[in-house]
Symmetry: D3
Subunit: 135 residues, 6 copies
């Protein structure tokens, strides 16, 4: 009797699509205006989903308050109002595409979720573009 519990969160950040091992010209050619060296930014909306059995004691798969707190510590505080390329160490050598950001968030949350639970992350870069990753 597996149920999936989801929590929405959000953070605002600057980024540029950029590989430091490529020239600015090559970055511009491949990534277009998304590679603007002066950065642009997004209101990222995040959905974190945890799947598991309902605990018959509480009626919860996971306590939403705990999930909210975990997202705050692992994602909001290190990412919100930050420049992802410059200030978030995971993107020092990793291009902060929506795909890669979703994987990084998954990898940050996974150790804090019991292995009996499945985890999935959906990240909206804009209301029109979004990605999902489940490990």
């Amino acid at each position: 009797m597996k149920v999936t519990v989801s929590r929405k969160a959000h953070f605002n950040a600057a980024h540029r699509l950029f590989r430091p091992d490529w020239s600015d010209e090559k970055n511009a050619q491949v990534f277009g205006k998304c590679s603007n060296p002066n950065y642009h930014g997004h209101n990222y909306e995040l959905i974190v989903s945890v799947t598991g059995e309902i605990d018959p004691e509480t009626g919860f798969v996971i306590d939403m308050k705990d999930l909210k707190e975990l997202i705050k510590t692992e994602v909001d505080e290190p990412f919100d109002h930050k420049n992802l390329n410059e200030e978030v160490p995971e993107f020092k050598n990793l291009n902060p595409t929506a795909e890669n950001i979703a994987v990084v968030i998954f990898d940050k949350l996974r150790p804090h979720i019991t292995s009996a639970h499945e985890l999935s992350v959906t990240l909206y870069e804009t209301p029109r573009n979004f990605v999902s990753y489940s490990g």
Copy 2:
């Protein structure tokens, strides 16, 4: 050639997270402000999804009018503008967490959907918290 057909509905209800076999103190300790003995409430948004083959006669997996009517009879009428703990018999001895409400709705709808079709229920307790259950 399986297609999933989904219909959104909504109901407004009061509830509290509460186990009648626990003291009010223990309920408050585990469930926090969600266990307020005077109740709080939500605009629950419900998505019911039915998966199956397209009927070549009609082009439907299921007639949306029938699905809408089924949700009205099985969920809206017994749940809308109700106190889930006090007035909905399924929660007499079951804590009305979002998880448990989703399972109860699934179990009420399942007998009315042909066994050739899969059923899934997603319940938004708030725009930021939601759960899914597929049996």
Copy 3:
């Protein structure tokens, strides 16, 4: 050069439409299922709007952080996860219709906003029903 600055917030509460000076029968006749004696509830979404000149020093009409904090103190803490009829003193003798809740919220916020600024409150009882009050 007046600009209006708006901030969204939300709280979840139980209520019933009810006049204590009427019988339950008369309440039921006038207010229908909204008068259920066992309560029902909503995810109230609130928009607080403040209109005034832009401060040339900061570029702000009002600091959003201050407005967010004010809503938290004056609305979220006293209203969230509460039973409006039973636990919010303003509704002891006032029917908690969306209209009256909006007026109460306006009256609670108004003294904390400088008189040079206009104030407006919009309250969504559901995504389909909402009210606005500007004093």
Copy 4:
């Protein structure tokens, strides 16, 4: 390390639920007001999802700009501001239910997506009715 990338698009079209091999009476009996011979219409919202490995070169599963362009060519241009029954050849002999429209869109997009990638299409006929198809 599979990631799903999704892009939202939209088109406005007229249609009626209708089988040309049935009488208008039978169409009306089965499809109700959706079979109005003078047509009605919708703002269709479309989500196209592509699942695959992240290309370590770009950090993309698929370039969103390419996906946006593909949807424009294959869906927007032939469907937008059109009468689906009268002007879109795929529905000459196929009832334009949401289910069938989703399958047609999937079949139009599939040849343009590399076979290493999975494709899924979600089509909102209204904000309350939607369908998904994954082949």
Copy 5:
């Protein structure tokens, strides 16, 4: 102490921008693809707003149930799943632009709202295009 009460509704309809006193060529030149002779359509979302004093008896400006019923009778039933040009008499000789539809809806509702109340109508033709009219 005036409060504005708003109710959302929706209807799905086909239309074309078209003046019967112009040639199809001139219609096409001025209105572009919106003048497609085979029609296109929309999910129209409607917000009806009524402004007035709160009735101290009920705490209502207007009973939402009455407003919902009025919209159903005056707008939903004559407009929903219809071809506005062909089947709604008000558009026999009036181009069904969003602007004109809003004025027609206002004129249909106004006689049913007490003259002590102000009326305003907002009509979304798409989530990106909308119009408002207050008489």
Copy 6:
């Protein structure tokens, strides 16, 4: 018989709240994390509203296609995927608060709208924070 016509648009940009005539310390003290020297960013959603008489010839207050094109030229192209502080000349010496951005957009659009029409601009910095300016 004045009608308001509104069009939604969007652009993604980086910014920081910053006065170049203040030290970084004073900027940080007044603007907090919004003044991060490495920038952050937003998906700005813009609503441009034009109020005027309906042209009896066309049934339009203003042709939406023209309004869409104007927003593209005056706002999208100069603002989208840009760093507002570094690349948009209007903010060379003007703090890019939501309030100031709304005024700048209004001032850019106003000369292109006939003086017989009123103009209003609403700018969402996030889904929870927005500002409006009408000149």
